[in-house]
């Protein structure tokens, strides 16, 4: 008797896409490292690329719920977790490149940099939140913490705000007068604002109605 292969559902296809998309940046990075394509300042290239991947994946993770709200797509909603975990993976690699590769785990120096530079402090805060959320993402903690788990995991929004602020503050120039190349973090910030607006009932309800879903 042969077991029937499980049908390839929409939900599974989405999951496979998320895993491929989530692993692609690190595979590409390792490939570039061994083929010498990281440019003349490889440490900076790795720090920038992992940071960018973390923010993009984090924003995508936060996009799942609004999409579900508007289009009633439970399989999309389930992607929050793998996308969020991949975001945490890249945030971790971003930190590792900074602390291990760049600063050679010199704790004195890392501490001095962290307290001296607001953008690093803000980045560390985002990293800490993502770290806690990663550990408590398991079913066990969800069951154990109950209502508290939901509240705890809402801090992912705070992590996203901190991550975008970290990027804004890391740009050379002047943030207040917008002198400098702020294009990327501004796009991320605008995207985050749209996501927040879509959480407001007086915005998503009429949108949902116009799509024929009361």
């Amino acid at each position: 008797m042969e077991a029937k292969p499980a049908p390839l559902t929409f939900s599974k296809v989405l999951r496979i896409i998320v895993h491929i998309g989530g692993l692609a940046p690190v595979v590409y990075l390792v490939w570039d490292y061994y083929s010498g394509n990281l440019g003349l300042n490889p440490i900076e290239a790795v720090i920038r690329r992992t940071g960018r991947a973390a923010i993009i994946l984090l924003l995508l993770s936060l996009t799942c719920t609004p999409i579900h709200t508007l289009f009633n797509a439970p399989p999309v909603r389930k992607l929050r977790k793998p996308l969020g975990l991949y975001a945490a993976l890249y945030a971790g690699l971003h930190f590792a490149a900074f602390a291990l590769w760049d600063y050679g785990l010199d704790f004195n120096l890392i501490w001095r940099e962290t307290v001296e530079k607001p953008f690093i402090l803000v980045g560390m805060a985002a990293l800490l939140i993502l770290f806690i959320l990663t550990i408590t993402s398991h079913r066990y903690w969800r069951r154990k913490l109950g209502r508290g788990w939901v509240i705890l995991h809402r801090s992912v929004y705070l992590a996203a705000i901190l991550a975008v602020a970290h990027h804004l503050l890391a740009i050379k120039g002047d943030l207040l007068s917008l002198q400098g190349n702020y294009t990327l973090p501004m796009i991320a910030g605008a995207f985050l604002i749209v996501l927040f607006l879509l959480r407001l009932p007086f915005i998503y309800k009429p949108l949902r109605q116009s799509m024929g879903r009361g």
């Binding site: 440490i43 001296e116 953008f119």
Partner: protein, 321 residues
């Protein structure tokens, strides 16, 4: 020195890798065959004779030394020309070289005026014919926390200032970079208030370390490095070393400078390399030497303290950073 000035950017693949020419030179030295240079002359640049002092007529992908005075190795030519900040073209350091390929630097003229007795406009031919080019190996410390060791070709700025003769009222020197929007992609992006301006106090400008550079590694200055002529002030952060200069003005008051205008709390007018004055974004206590992994300690005044500290005797360098 009556050579035709030409600033076609040299492609990395055209350049002899450092280890190759170093071994070539070592070989020549060991053999003691001075005439070897003549044999190679048809396909290779002229080599300086072993043990000679820096050769003002150096041509080709070479330097008279392999290290700076501290024993630090020269940064590879490919890295020096492939990793530059020139925001009029792009904010991508590794993207400048390609975008600057069509930057026209011949003909070129520099207007020197303001509070001087003999104002004058120099062509590049005037400059190259008039001032003996010499090699200077300097450390370059960028405010962004990276550094290089670069064999520049050039001449001390004081040689030019002595010729135009600053008046008694002149206390500062103001410099201006060319602004050619149709050749510079990001010149009108609104990201920064171009033209790029820089300035030095007159005594800093007269210091023998302060160089007007016209080339590096024995080659004419590549466009992305500030062709055809740029300033090099090795004890200050790299942004003080203004590129592609078209105007030099002697003035009475401290002139506005680009980074000091954009973010005065981050970039001082003096911008002396100082590991004790922190920056909100980059480590100033340590730096990443391009080509090395990890970090090394940043030297006070970038290692030129002995030479330049007399300039700042009565100054609080933490306040006037």
């Amino acid at each position: 020195m009556d050579k035709k000035y030409c600033s076609v950017p040299v492609q990395p693949q055209e350049v002899t890798p450092k280890h190759v020419y170093q071994s070539r030179r070592k070989f020549l030295k060991q053999m003691g065959v001075l005439g070897m240079g003549a044999l190679l002359a048809s396909c290779a640049p002229k080599l300086p004779s072993p043990g000679s002092s820096p050769d003002p007529n150096l041509m080709g992908d070479q330097s008279s030394n392999f290290t700076d005075e501290l024993g630090d190795a020269l940064t590879a030519y490919e890295a020096i020309i492939g990793y530059t900040n020139f925001y009029e073209f792009t904010t991508s350091k590794e993207g400048v070289a390609e975008l600057a390929e069509n930057f026209v630097t011949d003909p070129w003229s520099i207007e020197v005026g303001g509070l001087v007795k003999n104002p004058r406009t120099y062509s590049m031919d005037d400059i190259l014919g008039h001032f003996t080019q010499q090699e200077r190996i300097y450390r370059m410390r960028c405010v962004e926390g990276w550094s290089m060791v670069i064999p520049w070709l050039g001449f001390p700025l004081h040689a030019l200032l002595d010729e135009v003769v600053p008046t008694e009222d002149a206390r500062y020197v103001a410099f201006e970079t060319a602004l050619v929007p149709d050749q510079m992609n990001a010149a009108e992006s609104g990201m920064f208030p171009f033209p790029y301006l820089e300035g030095l106090r007159l005594d800093e400008a007269m210091h023998d370390l302060t160089l007007l550079a016209t080339g590096l590694y024995g080659e004419p200055m590549p466009a992305q490095n500030g062709a055809p002529i740029r300033l090099v002030v090795p004890w200050k952060y790299g942004f003080k070393s203004i590129k592609s200069i078209v105007r030099i003005n002697l003035v009475a008051d401290q002139p506005p400078t680009l980074w000091n205008t954009v973010a005065p709390h981050e970039y001082g007018f003096y911008a002396n390399v100082n590991p004790d004055v922190s920056h909100p974004r980059w480590s100033q206590a340590t730096e990443r030497r391009i080509g090395e992994s990890g970090r090394r300690a940043t030297l006070f005044m970038n290692g030129y303290a002995e030479e330049v500290m007399p300039l700042y005797e009565d100054m609080d360098l933490d306040v006037l950073f």
